[in-house]
Symmetry: C2
Subunit: 282 residues, 2 copies
């Protein structure tokens, strides 16, 4: 069991990883979302760098991480479950356990689809390799938010009898004979005890399951019972959430959405993790 698992690779995650490493804690670090830091044109308020591009700052972060021998895994965490005072994380078809979790999820740019959370585990899945086999010979929809998930979409098309594939980006290359490409955004999913339909503005398709392949899962979907306040993860001054052992840092905890704030909170979160670990092992 790891001391901690960090979810998210932005500045808060970077700061968390650096501090956990320096403090000698065992941890895993997952990130799948695209690095927004890279897209910042020019940053002028990260103290000690009068003017730096997002790309340069990200490179400096990467060098810092590499200098400490820290590895970031580019995998999507699809669920965090509390059991017997520790946490089990589902990462594709693997499971990892940790005593604490630091959520550095950033700000959600994609809202969940209407009905997505309601039918999670009853037809909606985030993990092709975990749940794909459940839909052998059935009808599914596959919402694909990024080119990098195409191999998972292809994998699902190979299992299902028919797959409505919905790519939300340009230049898709999904060519399975079972795939029917739909070039519009779904507005909701619906059903009864189980998922039955994916709905678009002007039509609906009957399905047995829907795979949503995106880089991140919304915080409240990821961690059951997590307190959300004004659209952000509620945290105390020490970056603890309402769930003992779960901490959060960076944009996901609220404004200002700033690099300095994010690295500061990553630092605070790790110090709180260490204190928490000391208390549970006492």
């Amino acid at each position: 069991m790891y001391d901690c698992i960090i979810i998210g690779g932005g500045p808060a995650g970077v700061s968390s990883a650096i501090n956990l490493k320096l403090l000698g804690k065992s941890f895993l670090w997952f990130s799948s979302a695209p690095k927004k830091v890279e897209r910042a044109e020019l940053i002028k308020n990260y103290p000690a760098f009068p003017s730096i591009t997002g790309k340069e700052l990200n490179e400096a972060f990467q060098k810092h991480i590499e200098s400490l021998g820290i590895e970031m895994r580019e995998e999507v965490v699809t669920g965090v479950y509390e059991t017997d005072g520790h946490f089990t994380l589902l990462v594709q078809d693997k499971q990892y356990t940790a005593k604490t979790v630091i959520l550095c999820l950033g700000v959600e740019t994609s809202k969940p689809i209407d009905g997505e959370e309601e039918f999670l585990g009853r037809g909606v899945s985030y993990c092709a390799t975990c749940d794909g086999f459940l839909y052998k010979g059935k009808k599914i929809a596959v919402l694909c938010t990024d080119k990098k998930f195409e191999h998972e979409a292809e994998f699902l098309c190979g299992i299902a009898e028919k797959a409505y594939v919905i790519p939300l980006y340009k230049g898709y290359e999904i060519k399975s004979p079972n795939a029917q490409i739909i070039l519009k955004k779904p507005i909701s999913v619906s059903g009864d005890m189980r998922l039955r339909k994916v709905n678009f503005k002007d039509e609906s398709f009957e399905i047995d399951g829907m795979f949503i392949l995106r880089g991140s899962v919304s915080p409240s979907t990821l961690v059951h019972g997590l307190k959300i306040e004004d659209g952000h993860i509620f945290v105390n001054r020490d970056c603890s959430t309402n769930i003992a052992g779960v901490f959060a840092a960076g944009d996901c905890t609220g404004r200002p959405y700033q690099y300095a704030k994010a690295v500061g909170e990553g630092n605070i979160a790790v110090h709180s993790v260490v204190e928490y670990l000391n208390n549970i092992t006492r």
Copy 2:
């Protein structure tokens, strides 16, 4: 009237100044305490710098500040008073007014003397040039914490009939004929309605006033009514204190005492200042 006055020149103050400047706010920035950053041997968890000495990081901060044309004044703020919804700051014998204040006071390394806060304004003073003339021909004590305050001590010796000068450092050079040098630490000051005595472990001296010349004043002495919790300034998540318009950032708000946390809070405090300014001018 300024939009904001920052008190304190550590990383939280640096971050506050950078952000206020970039956001186009008018402000003054005072600092008098020695820069503790410079004394840090090696910093390994300021993200983007794998390994940097305190001296180097401080130089990088200074370059950042200079690149923005920001000026830091090396003067001691001795009082912050709220009047008519704004703040008046006493800085030596001058006064400045501002709509908001950011306290970046760091961690107090010197505790106040017993009775110091009780007799403030009734015999205890922090400001030689402000209150010195009140003690013309009288008996005073002068607690001098640093060589740089010696000219103020000399000034006071020149006014008083007799001055018990208490230097708390080595290599003092106070030579006034009115000065009696006392080479031990006072344990308390006492009196009735006014200050009457400075007390040492083994003796006491009758005095009419006592000047305490140190680089910083404790937060609760500096700002009347400021809420202190567990020895630190109480702040909310947005770095606001219990007094509307007064914000705090960095070590003075509590652990962890870390650069990343300090710059993060400086950033947060400024964003809260801006929101506060928007609200009061609406």
